[in-house]
Symmetry: C2
Subunit: 279 residues, 2 copies
């Protein structure tokens, strides 16, 4: 099926969509950044809303789900896959790259590069789901690239539900954020990595809670830039005269997910289709 769908010319291949997947609609923060940077790209997005969240589940289960997500994208003939989910990037990326020949990018490398773009970065805090923190993928990637870093990972499992419920402005959210941030602030972090695609929506609140001078690294923007460099290197950029489209698939449809999709994308997501994963 995938090979039959691939057009013969290079222009044809470059016109095929970029495939994104996430446990839900949080990965649309990455899509939005990609659309801003590369408006010619066609995008096919899969959100596994029927089985979300991934962040609290075991590595084996996350790897199995990620595998099914990638297979769905490949049957739709994507030219590259972006794992727009920190938990899946943290647990599944190496294995996905072993199993599939299509270029597969995660959100971790981009975020780590951006965090270390500041040569003065020394004390780095990471907030993420429990799955991402426990994987030590960020901690490992940071430590590999610069010696002497002081790294503090903080699991923040209540932030995804709070964002999904749109309690962003609520005092309870501030209170919960304070509990998560306190140990990081106590350790004098100079950089805070938002290692979950839901967290960019919390940036305004985070800024009021962190001491001045703490740099926020948001993986959505950095991932888009990283993707652009990779597509350029692989000669896979879409033709510049093309107007990119967005096709959105979710494994469970509901009004709440549609509202959230609009919020993450900051515009209408258009028609949303239900995806049935092949298992």
């Amino acid at each position: 099926m995938p090979s039959a769908a691939l057009p013969a010319t290079v222009r044809g291949v470059n016109s095929t969509p970029l495939g994104f997947f996430d446990s839900g609609v949080g990965g649309l923060t990455v899509v939005r950044a990609v659309q801003e940077l590369m408006p010619a790209e066609n995008i096919l997005y899969l959100g596994d809303t029927a089985r979300l969240p991934y962040g609290s589940k075991s590595p084996e289960t996350i790897r199995q789900f990620a595998d099914e997500d990638v297979r769905f994208l490949l049957t739709h003939g994507v030219k590259a896959v972006v794992v727009a989910c920190n938990t899946a990037s943290a647990h599944a990326l190496p294995r996905l790259r072993e199993h599939y020949r299509v270029p597969i990018l995660g959100v971790i490398e981009a975020g780590v590069e951006d965090a270390l773009a500041d040569p003065k970065a020394e004390r780095i805090g990471i907030i993420a789901t429990r799955g991402t923190i426990n994987s030590h993928a960020y901690q490992h990637a940071l430590a590999q690239r610069r010696t002497g870093l002081i790294i503090h990972g903080q699991a923040a499992p209540l932030l995804v539900p709070l964002v999904e419920e749109n309690w962003i402005e609520h005092p309870a959210t501030r209170q919960i954020l304070q509990v998560y941030l306190e140990p990081l602030v106590d350790k004098g972090i100079d950089t805070l990595m938002l290692a979950c695609t839901h967290y960019p929506l919390l940036i305004p609140v985070l800024k009021t809670l962190l001491p001045p001078g703490v740099r926020l690294v948001d993986s959505a923007t950095t991932c888009a830039q990283h993707l652009q460099r990779e597509l350029t290197r692989l000669d896979l950029l879409a033709p510049a005269d093309q107007t990119g489209t967005l096709e959105l698939y979710l494994t469970d449809l509901s009004e709440q997910f549609e509202q959230l999709a609009r919020q993450f994308l900051k515009k209408s997501p258009g028609r949303i289709r239900r995806a049935v994963l092949g298992g």
Copy 2:
């Protein structure tokens, strides 16, 4: 040996386990109540932790998951099925009863009966997941049984994550509970139904937040009593000389779920096995 008089085949059927399923480990509050009331019963419990929560997902998806859960229990030869999940009871129970011949009980009827056991109950508040509230299953069951009731349903989607994170004692939980309870208290409820298997753990906090005299109805205990009546009626009670066992299956295993299972069950859950659902 009181059950020695039973024919061998009946005794065999009665000794087979009761099957319970829930989206996660919250349904173990029901299991605990059943073990206290009917210690001879063998219990087989399935928690669909790989796909939890159900409460935020669409009716179609919940029905599909519930169907797969029941099939898993039936392949293990259970004598009856308890839908120990309010969301699944609310959306899937009628269809499950149509499809399968084994006795299938939900948590709603029992809770509604208990709420109305007080003849003075007039203003009934319900807190539950968004899925349960939106199904109107509780509201409908109450209204069918007594005319003139004033019923207020309040979706409380953040309570499950807060309980699962064990933030039960935290001020943020109190603050969030206040937001959910305020509209119910304003309407002068005399009864509050805890229509989610996670909520019994919140009873101590709830008691400090509600005006005196509001009666709490917790579906775990009532469901156990309802089940005992049904098993008696169907002549399906386990032989009294038997010591009941618990077999626990989860679709995703993790340390967090094991800890939670212990918390809900108030004792060690024993060995937990991983369930693979047939789809």
